[in-house]
Symmetry: C2
Subunit: 206 residues, 2 copies
DNA sequence: TCGAATACTGTCATTATATACAGTATTGCA
DNA sequence: TGCAATACTGTATATAATGACAGTATTCGA
């Protein structure tokens, strides 16, 4: 199918929202009113374009005879949170290549809102109740307070540690006696906060 | 709400099926045609009865302005998993009184399927990565293998422990040095397995 | 520089549709 | 016995809504 123009996409989404709210599709007049069109035929044109592109189906001569298609593409993105496993060196966390699949979890389950799930490798946060194989719900932000568990990028590696600020200096501490803390030298080692951990999902408890 | 008559229920279902098929609700004429009514007003009467009983909502003067309600009764249960907090002594875990709310989590996320979420109180399973305040995804079953983390009812109390079978004898072991294991005496203390823990959700990581 | 697609405004005829009003028959309940 | 709810038929009307036709302006690729 062809790509939708921004306008067409907006109309598609309005129909979806109206449908969810009312239980039936909007009339063309209602769509026109919402977009402040003076002419209803502006809507007709868009609907015909949407039908031609396969985004909707129009039932002729039937009031509100609009059927939404292409649910997977327009439907609030793939539902759930993107699941990130191995992170390719140097690539942004949310790069397509890192997303394994989407997990049917409500982002609003966590506060603040979770943006993605990150797979934990290793036992370095064991004493914080974070085990190997767990999925961490991460809120993507650069700002983290001292004491929070964060996702950080140290050099080319992505790691999960507890953040401490000691006199203007960052410290990334593991939660396991066998693992050494990371005290990056601001000059040589580049540390970037990728997000804060706001939740955890464990799918296999053995 | 009042109960629907068989005729009303049939009409409700036809509207649901038509809606799913077409993407929009049927007109009254179409409903009449399907049920071989000679008069469209027969449908109007039924729709008014359905609206009065809370099974649908009618948008006045709007063609096909039918909104289906009561989805939970006719369709699927409330989405997500029931969330169980404090358990009233002696009551079944899934009793209404114990269900705090429903959590938008896909039951199929866990293997085997999760039936409910149970709030963890205390630190007795700390070394298994299960912390105070976590939500455990529980698969309701009476059968558990040795080594699995289970939800068990000991007397009137519900507890989460790791199950071990030692020569035909049950043992419920905590995962924290400060907590004693439970070795129930089969004669005096009644132990029932309520389910096995198949997953974990932690909503606040501090 | 031509045409096609997008993005509208404006008018009008036709029909799809809801709804009011007037009936008939049956059932169950008080 | 009477009343309300169910379950329809039949006629009529106002309007909700689609769709056809006629325009204008802009953008973008060939």
């Amino acid at each position: 199918m062809d790509t939708l123009t921004p306008r067409q996409s907006a109309i598609w989404q309005f129909i979806r929202d109206y449908q969810a709210e009312a239980g039936f599709p909007p009339s063309r007049a209602e769509i026109a009113r919402h977009f402040a069109f003076r002419s209803i035929n502006a809507v007709t044109g868009h609907l015909e374009a949407l039908a031609r592109k396969g985004a909707i189906e129009l039932a002729p001569d039937i009031p509100r005879g609009i059927r939404l298609l292409d649910l997977d593409r327009h439907d609030a993105a793939p539902p759930g949170l993107p699941l990130i496993g191995e992170v390719a060196a140097g690539s942004p966390l949310l790069a397509e290549q890192n997303i394994q699949r989407h997990c049917p979890v409500d982002a609003a389950l966590f506060r603040p809102r979770a943006d993605y799930l990150l797979r934990v490798t290793g036992q370095s946060m064991r004493d914080a109740g974070i085990l190997d194989g767990d999925w961490l719900a991460v809120h993507a932000t650069r700002e983290a307070r001292s004491g929070q568990v964060v996702v950080a990028r140290v050099g080319h590696e992505v790691t999960v540690k507890r953040l401490w600020r000691q006199g203007g200096r960052l410290e990334l501490r593991a939660a396991h006696p066998d693992f050494a803390d990371i005290v990056p030298d601001a000059d040589t080692q580049q540390v970037e906060i990728e997000g804060i951990v706001v939740g955890l999902i464990r799918a296999d408890v053995s």
